[in-house]
Amino acid sequence: MSLKIVVLAKQVPDTRNVGKDAMTAEGTVNRAALPAIFNPEDLNALEQALRLKEQDADTFVGILTMGPPRAGEVIREGMFRGADTGWLLTDRLFAGADTLATSYALATAIKKIGGVDLVIGGRQAIDGDTAQVGPQVAQKLGLNQVTYAEEILKIENGKATIRRLIDGGVEVVEAPLPLVVTVNGSAAECRPANAKRVMKYKYAACPLEVAPEDTRKGLREERPYLNLTQWSVADVDGDPQQCGLSGSPTKVKEVQSIAFQAKESKTLSGSDADVEGLIKELLNEKIIG
């Protein structure tokens, strides 16, 4: 069956390659020093969506992202790999959002898109590591959710069969559509960008991304698919009070730059008694177990 799929994607600083300039003197993230990338687990999510599209060419895959205008790059990245289009939520009123305000914004946009069968996102973003946004979106939309998904095995008769990662193994679950799925990093890696799609969509942009002196304006007028949708709070009929900083109960009180220091060391022999003692100690201190 053909589906309408929204992939939730976030542009994040590449925290996997942190250099010495990664933090500012004030202890905040120095975004200029970290390249902005497509959140890795969102790419795993996109791959699941694209596999469904491979099974039915009529399946529609769109990328939904929230961020500053340059986050349009995430939509293009998605289109290069196979997505049909995307929507960028960008507005000063969206800025400073915690997970609650973010999921409110995304849920509102998904309602606006309408008729969505499947919302797929990564388990979590590498900058916040909360894993809250996907489940909160499901909650706000009143949809079922499957988290930690590794593979969408099939979708038949309005039901999705999904393999998910659980402690010590995997389980296969079935859930009715519409559905929110969050995908784990252990899922299949996303396919690379496709040469022809890159050639076709490389000038796709949201209105705010286009500089006044842009030389490809004429091309964008001729080719409507190069104009990506950009939505403000008002465009998605959102409540400004629930968006951005004002909609975020989480407040950052203080940020500290912590340098780990070696504590006292213990020398253990390889004897059974020492090993057992160490295991007990680690269990008691809840370091393992």
Binding site: P192, A195, V198, M199, K200
Partner: protein
Amino acid sequence: MANYYTDHPEIAFHLSHPEMKHLVDLREKNYEDAQKGIDYAPVDFDDAMENYRRVLEITGDVAANTLAVNSESVDLEGPHLENNRMIYASKTVENLEQTRKAGLYGVSMPRRYGGLNLPNVVFSMASELVAAADAGFQNIWSLQSCIDTLYEFGSEEQRQKYIPRICAGETMSMDLTEPDAGSDLQRVMLKATFDEKENCWRLNGVKRFITNGDSDIHLVLARSEEGTKDGRGLSMFIYDKRNGGVDVRHIEHKLGIHGSPTCELTYKNAKAELCGDRKMGLIKYVMALMNGARLGIAAQSVGLSQEAYNEGLAYARERAQFGEKIINFPAVYDMLSRMKAKLDAGRSLLYQTARYVDLYKCLEDIARDRKLTPEERTEMKMYNRLADAFTPIAKGMNSEYANQNAYDAISIHGGSGFIMEYKSQRLYRDARIFSIYEGTTQLQVVAAVRYITNGTYLQVMRDMMAKTPDCELKNRVAPLIDLYEKAVAYVNDANNQEVHDFLARRLYDMTCEIIMSLLIIDDASRAPELFEKSANVYVRMTEEDVCAKSYYVMHFTEADLAAFRAE
């Protein structure tokens, strides 16, 4: 994330060569595909260049994050034989899938058949990136360029039938070699007979050492003219694996490029289509096929040279001995600087050659649609001659340099380089075939020698000198050209074929080194930050070598041959 393209700005430098404007304008025929509504076709020169950069970024990404990651596993597993079929190493299958999803097939083909219409310059760059990650996989991937020969000489019906399949990612092979026909392809015996009943050709016989021999679409050299014994009795055929009739009898166990399957094939009444005209198989089509393949090996060599240099450099930066990082020892940085100089000079030669090939092939392709102007015809002939003269030097020198760089990478690693856990041993094994297949270096010398004797290269050197801005390095090359000219005249005047053949390699090396010196001086004048060091090092190496070789040549007579003849 690692990216083999963006990590090496030298490649982007060559992509932005001043001649590209003319080349791309010709290639895109006034950007007519975009006007016809093909949505991925470029609308102007800048747009085309942007497309090239983007395709190379994709290739660099796949190379670094898929092919390179899989390369060790592919090397260890290799392909195997199952019921007369070749089965790729499991990670090779993954490599094929990823490159197909990235749309990196049919790259040189016109868009009307589903291709990307990329010029050879860009194809060679992509080839280089793929080879740097996994030289064996580059064979499988770059054999797609056999389709160029089918496009040039096949019928429109054959084009429509086969080209879209290559664009979709099917693989190719060129079935030339036989047990008794290696370097001497005139001896090919595989028999082609016309089946009147089925109105098709039938192939019977054996082919050996066929790279990617169980491919989807084969170009086959076979003897169609009964009773003939030389090249004039050979024709080229297309064999489609879907029709069956060709089995893989054996897969060779090789020193290197383990991922690239080298097959022995048996043809049992295999149905085939004639490609082009009868009797032109070897004389015309295989020559075209081989020239393309030779450029592919030159690109493969440059890719591996880069990887060997990277491995050597990384190790030298990390490894400390005698309380000092080994990169600071003159003996080590001498090696590294020569590796880099050979890499940079060789790459420059590769892309100069690729541009010549592009310029003449673009004009040749335009001639398929309309009559060329007299100026265009003159230009096409000139570039055709330059492409023919440059291909054997680009292939020969780069394949030798890849071997030298792989050797030096191991030297820098010391004992560790001899251990199988380090990549440099694989590079060393993989590189060895480069100077053998698609014509050994000795045969590249044979292909180049006529241009040495008739002064083509000398004229090239003089033209390049005239265009090079005055600088110290240029002044140092000038006397070397004089030495070269005298050495060539000396050998010509000796008027003895055996002396001529014996000294040809030395003249060839001198030719290549002087031309590459001039190329790298030009590169350094436009991008000193990238090439100034290499230009300096390379010109010194050329001085060292050209002086020694000219001395050798000028002191050689017919009587000296006796001391060399083997018994």
